[in-house]
């Protein structure tokens, strides 16, 4: 199992690294001292397990879990037990380790990881309809037309035969293509920045190298789409 460690404390990372090295089934690929770098890494790499600290400055472990689109199995690590109940509300979180972690407890966690499967439900299907003139977009989910406010849409991501529409309130999974929904969206607000992503241009927090930050999601920018993005920026 490929795994990574996300923890802002070097001592904590060293402990988990040592424990990982004691189990041949774990292949520690990388480690990160902040969540943003880890998210960027996860956008490009397939990982099976994340050992994740809850308490990190600016962007907590729980924030991190909420940001992940298709999360791998997650083992939380922390110095206190306050978050235990909240942690298990997320299906991807398979265990919760209190620091300092003992080898015995870590071994039990590995067993839990092996014995747990994650089911990510498909939420909806069919085609989006829109009324862009009113600032609304209707999507068909389980034979119900659900109205989305365009200004509440943050990101739209292609996932195979589906798209995931991430809004300020929740996410919707719709059976359609990025190309089709793009035709329904106003050009002045929405921009495709990658073959798998359309973003609400007005929701960008910052742009760094080849990615943009929208809320807590880091979205890659493809080389071919970058000039259009830069052209639209009100650069000083």
């Amino acid at each position: 199992m490929n795994c990574i460690i996300v923890d802002d404390e070097a001592t904590a990372r060293a402990i988990v690294e040592k424990l990982c090295n004691q189990f041949s089934e774990l292949d520690l690929i990388d480690q990160f001292d902040n969540a943003i770098d880890a998210i960027k890494f996860l956008n490009q790499h397939q990982i099976d397990v994340i050992f994740l600290d809850i308490h990190m400055p600016g962007f907590s472990g729980i924030d991190f879990v909420q940001t992940l689109k298709n999360p791998p199995k997650i083992v939380l690590t922390t110095s206190d037990t306050d978050f235990a109940i909240a942690a298990y509300e997320y299906e991807a979180i398979v265990d919760y380790l209190v620091k300092p972690i003992s080898a015995d407890r870590f071994e039990k966690s590995i067993q839990k990881i092996k014995n747990t499967s994650i089911h990510i439900p498909v939420e909806s299907n069919l085609n989006p309809r829109s009324d862009a003139t009113n600032g609304d977009l209707y999507i068909n989910i389980d034979r119900r037309l659900i109205k989305l406010k365009l200004h509440e849409i943050l990101i739209i991501e292609a996932q195979g035969d589906y798209i995931v529409i991430k809004t300020t309130k929740t996410n919707y999974r719709v059976h359609t293509t990025l190309k089709k929904i793009k035709e329904k969206l106003p050009n002045k607000t929405f921009l495709q920045i990658h073959r798998s992503y359309i973003i609400n241009f007005t929701k960008i927090i910052d742009i760094e190298d080849n990615s943009v930050l929208i809320e807590k999601s880091v979205i890659p920018i493809s080389r071919s789409n970058r000039p259009e993005l830069m052209r639209r920026l009100n650069l000083l």
Partner: protein, 105 residues
């Protein structure tokens, strides 16, 4: 006052001396930085930030098998979140003790 020790680190190392030495060096590098951060936050009355550093320091107390210091830090972290700094003096004594211990390693 309880004495810090390396029992946890030695158990984790399982005889791996290289790991033990590397880990102690990481601790020696990281802990003084956090202590300084804590002092600065207290000095500048940035108590919420001070509480986040206390949170990290309590993990170090655990690593050094300092159960009483850990319990003290747990309580102090909560007090700082409420803007109370009365435990600061005692906490700094614990920090000084730990820093002094690290110089012996």
């Amino acid at each position: 006052m309880e004495q810090p020790n390396l029992n946890y680190i030695k158990e984790l190392a399982g005889g791996d001396k290289e790991f033990e030495l590397n880990f102690i060096q990481i601790l020696k590098n990281e802990l003084p930085v956090e202590v300084e951060q804590y002092s600065n936050y207290i000095l500048n009355d940035e108590l919420e930030l001070a509480s986040t550093v206390v949170h990290k320091l309590k993990h170090k107390f655990n690593i050094l098998s300092m159960e009483n210091a850990y319990s003290y830090a747990v309580k102090y972290e909560e007090e700082l979140k409420q803007g109370i700094t009365e435990m600061d003096s005692e906490f700094k004594l614990i920090l000084n003790q730990v820093l002094e211990y690290l110089t012996t390693l």
